[in-house]
Structures are given as structure tokens and as C-alpha cells.
């Protein structure tokens, strides 16, 4: 279950793809952190994730967790964005069988899940394939 406070708190990442770049060593964190794991620096500037990336790996979920039951089978992958940050998200608008490692994808804003019958409708990013 995702409560309203948590969903509201994560809006900068879900809606605006806000990440944090360490002002000392340049490492980028998504979501933002308080300490840089690269240099242990504590100062960051806000940056926005690039929209383009490539598929590093993926799977097709056949047995879905609650909140996703009606959608299976669906593809989920790890995408490496052009700034090197990797994120996990669904890969949509294509048949799962068409997906391959290395495919270029673009991040889009979509409905992700619904928590229960009267729960919060959760939005966020998904990936769609761009021309190979």
C-alpha cells in the first residue's frame, strides 16, 4: 500500500524526474540522497534526468504483484539513461517479444498503478521504444 503522504513526497521524482548531482565529484543520484557514495560529499545541485536511454536488461512479468494483476504479462527493464543513471521501469507500447537488450527507449509520463479499489492512482515514468 502506498499512502498519500508517501505518494505526495515522491512527486518531484515521479512527475519531474528530479535527481541530485554531487557538487564535488559530479556523481548523480536518483532519487536524491543526503551523502554521496562516491566521495562522501554532502552538497548537491538539482538536475533533471535525461529522457533517452538504452535497455540494459528486461523481463516479462507473468505473475504480477497486487496492483498490477490485470496488466500481466508486462515488460519491466533497467534502462541506462544518457547521463549514466540507471532506472527500473515498465517498457510499454510494444509486444514483450519485440524487446532486446540495447534497444533505444524514451521516458514518458504514464499511469503506473492503482492501490486497491479506492486507493491512490499512481503516476510516474515508463519507457517506450524509439526507432532503432
Amino acid at each position: 500500500m502506498i499512502g498519500s503522504p508517501r505518494y505526495w513526497r515522491e512527486i518531484p521524482q515521479r512527475y519531474r524526474y528530479e535527481a541530485a548531482e554531487c557538487t564535488k565529484c559530479g556523481k548523480i543520484f536518483f532519487p536524491p540522497r543526503l551523502v554521496c557514495s562516491g566521495c562522501r560529499g554532502g552538497e548537491f545541485k538539482k538536475v533533471t534526468l535525461p529522457l533517452d536511454g538504452t535497455i540494459e536488461t528486461f523481463t516479462v512479468i507473468r505473475v504480477a504483484p497486487s496492483g498490477f494483476g490485470d496488466e500481466a504479462p508486462y515488460a519491466v527493464g533497467i534502462v541506462k539513461l544518457t547521463n549514466g543513471v540507471k532506472v527500473t521501469a515498465q517498457i510499454v507500447d510494444c509486444a514483450p517479444g519485440e524487446i532486446a537488450i540495447g534497444d533505444p527507449v524514451r521516458l514518458e509520463f504514464r499511469r503506473v498503478r492503482q492501490d486497491g479499489e479506492s486507493g491512490v492512482i499512481c503516476y510516474g515514468y515508463k519507457f517506450v521504444r524509439t526507432a532503432r
Partner: protein, 399 residues
């Protein structure tokens, strides 16, 4: 720090134990370990349990289970590190004895997973991954390991059949373990034709949902040498040669290499150094094969095979009983079952049986050193232990 020995082990038959409660499953294993050790009390107890709250609605397990032991107001501590909870509970018991705080300590693990339906169990297990940036997008544990498998296959040419061979081997081993949940053998064809869970992983690539517990008793090696009670008098001693623990990024996507288990490699490096041996000295290992691909990645991280070469190990017989380095003689998580909090302790029980020469049909001949590797999540936490057989009379302590 004092040397520590494992002096007793206990475990019940694992499976879907609908007729038994969480507390009774645990107490059976704990009492068996205490009896096996031949002691009449323990000074403290540790229990590994991943999610009493989500599986049976019960937390505060340190106190609750200490009471069930009937040994008075001893300190009872619950340890949580997802599927590595059991291994980490054992490590806490070892540290408590090594430090001299306690002399005889029970280390145990338990999980009762079949009181809830499959969906709730899947959810409880998924809490070991990053809830905000992995699970939010509908990924599951089979899905995360499937993504690791796909990288391994893409980069190293590991085949679908090589994954299946891990299941074939571990079910063959488990057919010799009377406490295993599944004691039937499977063929590679059956694995490859079983239902897809998360491509490329199928149901027979996955460890099952299990109820079960396991327990061991540890004491200082010096005290163990003096003990004459129980069935232990004629047995070799089992020394804890090394205990190590390491962590890695919680989310799989935050790792530089998506099919390399950094925490396992780190914990193994520390453990080998502490024990003063390398992987070539090991007689057998028990590893965390929550999925077939996991065993392949773990044996690479432990240095048993070259990086990227884990795929062929099961098919070639290298890791089978009778092979150069038998892996998961107990049947592993795959066949023995995977009551998550208990798994790490059951691995240690298997290591002790092997080193005592009590593993019956699945005995590794002349076993001297054994290693156990227990991990949580996609490997974000890993606990590695190395055990050594010491003959009674060695060191002049036997009378």
C-alpha cells in the same frame, strides 16, 4: 576473541505445515538443537525471521520465542536481513560467544509463509527490494533475478538449459534429504517446459514458498572440547573458521555490473582471509540458490569458477555430489525449501552434518572445510561462514 564451535543442530521436515504454528515449528527445531548439543540450557538466543509481521502478523519474536524455550528470562533477539536473516542471526550468536558475553547460545531461523495466500507472500518477499524505485513499477523477485539472468546469458552465453541443470542437480541432491520439501527429481526438459514466471525464469527455476525452522547451538571451542554430554562425545568438533558480512546497493539498477554479486565477493574475500584458506581448500559449499541463476552467480563470486563461467558448472558435474566442489548437497533452497528466515541456519546445519560425517547418502567423503553463503534481496546483504572439522584430541584437550 574466542574460537567458536557449533555443538548442536536441529531442523524439522519442511513444507506446507498447515497444522503447526509459527512458534511450534521454531520450538521443535530449537529443542532438537539443544538436545543434540547435550546442554541443559542456553545463555541467550537469536532468531532470524524476515517478516513475522507480514506472514503471520506477529512481531516481537525475540521475546515470544525465548519464552517458548522454557529456560527462563534469557535475552532473546530477532535479527532481520531479508532472506539472509538466518545467517546473520548465526553471526550474532558467534560474535556473542567470541566476545565472551555468553558461553552457550542458540542461533535459529524461522518463517511460516503459508498462512497467507500467494499474492500476500509475494508482496512480503518483495519488501526485500527497493519499494519506492523497484517494486513501484511492478517488478517482482523472480523478475529481478530474471533481469540478472538475461544479462548473464547475453554477455557470457549462458544457456537456458544451463540454468535448468542447476535445478536438476539440486533436486537430485534433495532427493537424498529426508527433511526437504520436494524430494522428487526433475529433468532439464521439465524445468524448461514449466510455466513462465518472469522471462527467462520458469517456476522450476524458483525456490518455493515454505514453512520451516532450523536451529544450531554454539559455544566456545574450549568449552566444546570439554563437553561430554549428548551424542557429541564421539563426534569431531566443528569450528567456525570465519564469519563475514557485507552489503551492496539495495536496488539492482544501482550496480555497475548487473550480474555480479559484489557483497558475496566481498564477504567471501573477508572470510577466506580470516580462515586462512582459499576456495580450493573447500570440500563443499551451501549457497543461496533462491533462483537457478543465483547459484551460478554465487559460485562465481565465491571464486569457485571464473567470472562468467558459472553456467556450465552444474551440467559438467563440477558442482554435483561426487564432483570437484559439491554445491548444495542439502538440495539447496530449490529442493529443500526456502522459509526465508530459516534458510541461512539450515545451510549451517548441513555444513555441520557434512563435517561430522553424518550426512548419510549425500555425504561428501573426507569433508574438512565447508562454506555457507546466505543472501538477502538481490544480494544487497550477504553472510558467509567457513567451518572446519577438528578431530577430538587435536590440540590435547580431549580427556
Amino acid at each position: 576473541m574466542r574460537d567458536v564451535a557449533v555443538i548442536g543442530v536441529g531442523m524439522n521436515r519442511w513444507g506446507e505445515l498447515w497444522e503447526k504454528s509459527h512458534r511450534d515449528i521454531w520450538t521443535e527445531a530449537a529443542l532438537e538443537a539443544v538436545a543434540d548439543a547435550g546442554v541443559d540450557r542456553v545463555d541467550a538466543m537469536y532468531v532470524g525471521c524476515m517478516s513475522g509481521g507480514l506472514f503471520v502478523g506477529q512481531e516481537h519474536l525475540g521475546a515470544m520465542l525465548a519464552e517458548q524455550l522454557g529456560m527462563g528470562p534469557i535475552p532473546g533477539t530477532r535479527v532481520e536481513s531479508a532472506c539472509a536473516s538466518g545467517g546473520l542471526a548465526f553471526r550474532q550468536a558467534v560474535l556473542a560467544v567470541a566476545a565472551g558475553e555468553h558461553d552457550v547460545v542458540l542461533a535459529s531461523g524461522v518463517e511460516k509463509m503459508t498462512d497467507v495466500d500467494g499474492g500476500a507472500a509475494t508482496y512480503a518477499l518483495s519488501t526485500a527490494a527497493d519499494q519506492e524505485y523497484e517494486c513501484y513499477h511492478g517488478i517482482t523477485f523472480p523478475g529481478l533475478y530474471a533481469m540478472m539472468a538475461r544479462v548473464h546469458m547475453h554477455r557470457y552465453g549462458t544457456t537456458r538449459k544451463e540454468l535448468a541443470e542447476v535445478a536438476v542437480k539440486n533436486h537430485a541432491h534433495g532427493s537424498m534429504n529426508p527433511l526437504a520439501q520436494f524430494q522428487g527429481k526433475v529433468t532439464a526438459e521439465q524445468v524448461m517446459e514449466s510455466v513462465l514466471v518472469a522471462d527467462p525464469l520458469r517456476i522450476l527455476d524458483c525456490s518455493p514458498i515454505t514453512d520451516g525452522a532450523a536451529a544450531v547451538v554454539v559455544a566456545s571451542l574450549d568449552a566444546a572440547k570439554r563437553m561430554k554430554g549428548g551424542a557429541g562425545a564421539a563426534r569431531p568438533l566443528v569450528r567456525v573458521a570465519a564469519s563475514a558480512h557485507a552489503t551492496d546497493s539495495m536496488a539492482l539498477h544501482d550496480r555497475d555490473d548487473l550480474c555480479w554479486l559484489g557483497a558475496t565477493a566481498k564477504a567471501a574475500e573477508i572470510a577466506y582471509k580470516k580462515a586462512g584458506i582459499g576456495p580450493e581448500k573447500l570440500s563443499f559449499v551451501e549457497v543461496h540458490d533462491c533462483f537457478t541463476i543465483a547459484e551460478i552467480m554465487v559460485i562465481e563470486a565465491l571464486g569457485l569458477v571464473e567470472r562468467g563461467k558459472g553456467g556450465g558448472a552444474a551440467a559438467s558435474g563440477l558442482t554435483a555430489l561426487g564432483g570437484k566442489i559439491p554445491v548444495n548437497t542439502s538440495g539447496g533452497l530449490k529442493s529443500k525449501g526456502h522459509p526465508v528466515g530459516a534458510t541461512g541456519v539450515a545451510q549451517i546445519r548441513e555444513a555441520v552434518l557434512q563435517l561430522r560425517g553424518e550426512a548419510a547418502d549425500r555425504q561428501v567423503k573426507g569433508a574438512r572445510y565447508g562454506l555457507t553463503q546466505n543472501m538477502g534481496g538481490t544480494g544487497a546483504s550477504t553472510v558467509v561462514h567457513i567451518f572446519e572439522r577438528i578431530e577430538r584430541g587435536q590440540g590435547g584437550m580431549e580427556r
